[in-house]
């Protein structure tokens, strides 16, 4: 099923179920403009077609491409030629860089417009700067770009027009080269989008956010890297990501086909490339999660029922959708189980149960008799020992077991647990001479397997745990001093054979647990009596002498296993039917009660009303901070700087340390956050306290403080390393938080704090940070 059809169909089911009305979707299940996928090896000078318009993977072409890879040492040498500087400062690019050759070839072949995807903002700018000597526009286009650019920039003040991002971008744009990432000034980003849509930008360096939402198709898409860092690790692109970004290629109605180029700088397995290029889209899984704000707003409406909302979520829908498949499995297994017809099944089952009991009792007795306390004195060299061996059959269905005989050589205490011994095993091992088959695996390690004495094999001294000794004979025999020669071992086993033959009539005499070994255990006596009773029951049982009993028991065993499997699936169905997030819902309500946001009767209190208003920041921590009076004492600028910790998400390595007064406020914030996190931990919420506390970062406190004090934007950019667009986005979100806090202050009647917050809004809402969007 095509992925778009699957996704739409899934949503249709969800909407139909929740709204109880039919829902129809309109879809296309083919791509109007076919794609061709190429590989460009690093250091090379050509393209290699690896997937054609008919979606066929061409492995030979792929291998040729990889073989064209220049050795790594030369590659490193080329990289040194590139020069990177912050922003778009003019540097000295190298005409020999891969990206330059790539774009040049694309333009020559008229594959433009082209989007080149990178996976970091700085790499975007770095690659664009290598285009300094390339000019893709004619004079008319240059004039158009200049007109559009300055029309947009007129919204800015004169100071803001002098920002490096603004002044350095125009020369690049006039040559038809653009950059697009979230670190750009919003107005600059919008201008570039408009220019690209108008076809005035031929070559755009973008991050992957450009592949989502925006209607910005190009003829060609280039992946400058095959790997990306996703916050956890460095990894290959996923097929879903590749599909999303390559979807930009091929303009409907304009291009005959779209072109995707993958720039490769290291060896890839063909299967890896196939997985990326021809894999399927990522599953559309629900990312629903409970938040305290949502929970509180549900609770304060009488009609609002958090459980009801959870039941109607897409997440629950996806969990429920698994049920029919599980039910089908159960039905199939039950059908298979019922089709197994066994004669005299009831009798057979009782015999089977007796057999299980018998084996368990036998094992109990053996464990008692063979505990080191009783058995060690009788492990003399030369004593005949009966040992168990395993066969290919998983289990037997008879009171007879797989046993053979060997000669005890020695025993020793196990000092440490080796890998092939389980902790439950005895602390002693016994060296036994018996017949084994010896095989060697690939690494040359020997594997020895015990086999019957008369089978073909080698005489080997093997170490066995006590639990594998089935019985000890009262017979001891003389063994040679030296068992290293194979002949000596073979002779000894031949003697064992003679002894077995001599006692063939009555069986080899065993040590009596009570008389010889002095076992005094009452549980031993009890178990022994039960074993005797069971043995007599076996003789009298109806099916004991019936034909094919082993075969029937095997079938019964398989039937029992099917029943076990059915039970497991039914348990899965039950847990799936249970409300998802139910435990989390209970835990979060507990947190809210402990903090005083709701009463035990689930009525929203004063604190809860404040938290209801906050959705742009962590509502619990911010409410606790507010009620602790921290915001009251701080000045307007200090308060704004402190609140910036709630909205800044990126990681900055060399952020300036906040001044002392701000550092003090930040410490209070961290203490409040730690208290909130510890309380959630107490209430069974899964939370990492340290990472929660560290998620409030002081990186832009100084910048926001200065902005609230009235500094110019370019002055702030001189004191901090953040991208202009990131800072603007943070300040805008900060204004949202302030607006929500104003509503919260109003709800508790704190007019002084409300006035202070209003003043804060007026201080930060100015100039370039809140310039109007070009799309309005």
């Amino acid at each position: 099923m095509p992925r778009s059809l699957l996704t739409g169909w899934l949503r249709e089911c969800f909407i139909s179920q929740v709204h109880k009305q039919p829902c129809h979707i309109v879809y296309t299940d083919y791509r109007p403009t076919p794609l061709q996928h190429y590989v460009f090896p690093s250091g090379g000078d050509g393209l290699y077609l690896v997937v054609d318009e008919k979606s066929k993977f061409r492995e030979d072409s792929f291998q040729k491409g990889l073989n064209a890879l220049v050795p790594a040492s030369e590659n490193d040498k080329k990289r040194e030629n590139g020069k990177w500087q912050k922003g778009l400062l003019t540097g000295k690019p190298s005409e020999d860089s891969d990206i330059f050759k790539m774009v040049k070839m694309i333009i020559q072949r008229q594959y433009d417009p082209v989007i080149l995807f990178s996976f970091s903002k700085r790499e975007c700018e770095f690659l664009a700067m290598q285009m300094a000597k390339m000019d893709l526009n004619d004079d008319d286009e240059k004039a158009n770009i200049e007109t559009i650019f300055w029309s947009a920039m007129d919204l800015l003040s004169d100071d803001d027009k002098k920002l490096p991002q603004v002044s350095n971008m125009l020369p690049l744009l006039k040559r038809g080269i653009g950059v697009h990432h979230s670190g750009l000034l919003p107005i600059l980003k919008e201008v570039i989008e408009i220019l690209f849509q108008e076809g005035l930008i031929k070559c755009l360096f973008a991050t992957e956010t450009f592949s989502i939402g925006l209607n910005m198709p190009a003829k060609t898409v280039v992946f400058t890297n095959v790997r990306k860092f996703d916050g956890d690790r460095f990894r290959w692109l996923s097929s879903g990501e590749y599909i999303q970004m390559s979807g930009r290629a091929g303009r409907r109605g304009i291009d005959q086909r779209g072109i995707c180029i993958l720039m490769v700088d290291e060896k890839m397995e063909p299967s890896t490339a196939k997985m990326i290029l021809k894999g399927s889209a990522d599953s559309l899984n629900s990312a629903f999660h409970l938040s305290y704000n949502m929970l509180l707003n549900q609770i304060r409406c009488e009609d609002g029922d958090p459980e009801k909302l959870l039941r109607h979520s897409f997440y629950q829908f996806q969990a429920d959708r698994v049920l029919p498949d599980l039910e089908k499995q159960v039905k199939e297994l039950e059908l298979e189980r019922n089709s197994m017809i066994i004669e005299e099944e009831e009798n057979l089952k009782s015999y089977y149960d007796l057999l299980q009991q018998y084996k368990n009792l036998k094992k109990d007795v053996r464990d008692i008799v063979h505990s080191p306390k009783y058995v060690l004195p009788f492990l003399q060299p030369g004593r005949l020992a009966r040992v168990q061996y395993s066969t290919d059959e998983q289990s037997t269905f008879s009171i007879d077991e797989n046993i053979t005989w060997g000669v005890t050589i020695n025993f020793e205490k196990v000092k440490t647990h080796s890998e092939d011994r389980r902790p439950e095993d005895s602390d002693y091992t016994v060296d036994v001479l018996t017949r084994c088959s010896v095989s060697k695996d690939k690494s040359g390690k020997k594997t020895m397997k015990i086999i019957p004495l008369k089978d073909r094999g080698e005489p080997v001294v093997i170490s066995l745990p006590l639990s594998q000794i089935d019985g000890l004979s009262s017979i001891r025999m003389h063994i040679p001093k030296d068992l290293l020669p194979v002949e000596a071992r073979e002779n000894t086993l031949r003697k064992v054979d003679e002894v077995i033959s001599r006692f063939a009539k009555d069986g080899i005499p065993l040590l009596d647990p009570e008389e010889d070994m002095k076992v005094q255990s009452s549980s031993f006596r009890k178990a022994s009596r039960r074993i005797e009773a069971l043995e007599s029951l076996f003789e009298k049982h109806d099916v004991h002498n019936s034909p094919h009993i082993k075969q029937k028991l095997k079938v019964l065993h398989a039937k029992q296993e099917l029943s076990t499997k059915i039970k497991a699936i039914k348990r899965t169905m039950r847990s799936s039917t249970a409300l998802a997030f139910k435990d989390e819902l209970k835990a979060r309500k507990r947190v809210l009660r402990r903090l005083g946001y709701i009463t035990s009767e689930d009525v929203v209190e004063v604190k809860g009303k404040v938290a209801c208003e906050i959705s742009s920041a962590d509502e619990l921590t911010l409410t606790e901070l507010m009620f602790s009076g921290t915001l009251k004492d701080a000045t307007v600028e200090q308060m704004v700087a402190l609140l910036s910790c709630f909205v800044w998400q990126e990681k900055l390595q060399d952020a300036p340390k906040p001044r002392e007064e701000l550092d003090l406020l930040f410490f209070q914030l961290q203490e409040t956050a730690r208290r909130v996190a510890n309380l959630q931990l107490d209430c069974k919420i899964q939370i990492d306290v340290e990472s929660f506390v560290n998620s409030f970062r002081p990186d832009i406190m100084e910048a926001v403080y200065s902005w609230a004090k009235g500094s110019k934007f370019y002055q702030i950019m001189e004191m901090t390393q953040v991208f202009e667009g990131s800072l603007i986005r943070a300040i805008r979100r900060l204004e949202e938080v302030l607006q929500q806090l104003i509503l919260a202050s109003k709800s508790i009647g704190e007019t002084q704090l409300e006035a202070k917050l209003e003043e804060a809004v007026s201080k930060i809402k100015r100039d370039i940070v809140f310039a109007a969007s070009l799309y309005l």
Binding site: G596, V603, K609, F627, S628, K632, Q752, L753
Partner: protein, 315 residues
Amino acid sequence: MRDLQLSLNQTQRVRLEAALHELQTVAPAAAVTVADTIPVNDEDNILKGHGTSDQDGEVVATLCGVVERVNKLVYVRTLRARYKPEVGDIIVGRVIEIAPKRWRLEINFSQDAVLMLSSMNLPDGIQRRRTAVDELNMRTIFEENDVICAEVRGFQHDGSLHLQARSQKYGKLERGQLLVVPAYLVKRRKQHFHHLEQYDVDLILGCNGFIWVGEHVVVGENANMMENKLNLSAEVENFTPLETRKHICRLANAVRVLSALGFTLTVELIIETAEASVSSNIEINNMLGAEFYVQTAEREVKRRADLLRKKSGAR
């Protein structure tokens, strides 16, 4: 408690005064009146909430009530406040005007509330856009003087109060009594809709002090009722069994007695009072007589004493 307009004889007056005096001995702590200073022990960072003001560095009360504290927030919770709407409040209101695309409702607030045509469930229950025909048919849904229950949605930017009635449990209230009591007698609870099965009566305790006692309406049968409405004659349509009507009157009188005495209205107390009148063989009209008032006051004294004893025992 206001002055009761009752003809009390000497014995009844003495009993009533004794009961009320008993109730007043359990006075709330830290009560303040206007201009009282609220002691905050010279703490820093005090947040001054509703009913407080800053006067020369001291926190002064601007309302009469009880001082409450939440962390650093200090505010005065009034004992007899006027109704102040909050998001999620269940209210009962009366339609006073039909304006373009909206109804205006009287809800015992300083301004009228607005119920938008787009904020309520259409009678046919289908979720769809409202059309011009729907606007023309607004009077067939609610007309002037209809009693409606709804939920407070919030204040809009222009300061108007907006309601919503998006569930089938909201809407027009018929065949019952609307009672008006002071809003502070109705405490915010998790539940404000009550179906009293033993009486076949719906009781709605509006947060604004409007209380509805009416015949039970089965939610979910509205669609069928629309069809049946056309077939029923006018007489059959308005029929309510006598027994149900008696229950409605008895419960309504219980509310009247409790509110006149100034007692907080909870569904448990209302039912208890109604049952007391039955067990005392008091006629429905006599529930408003002097003797039942005194009995109710005495029963409340006993109830609170029992409650206090339980708390002491638990402690």
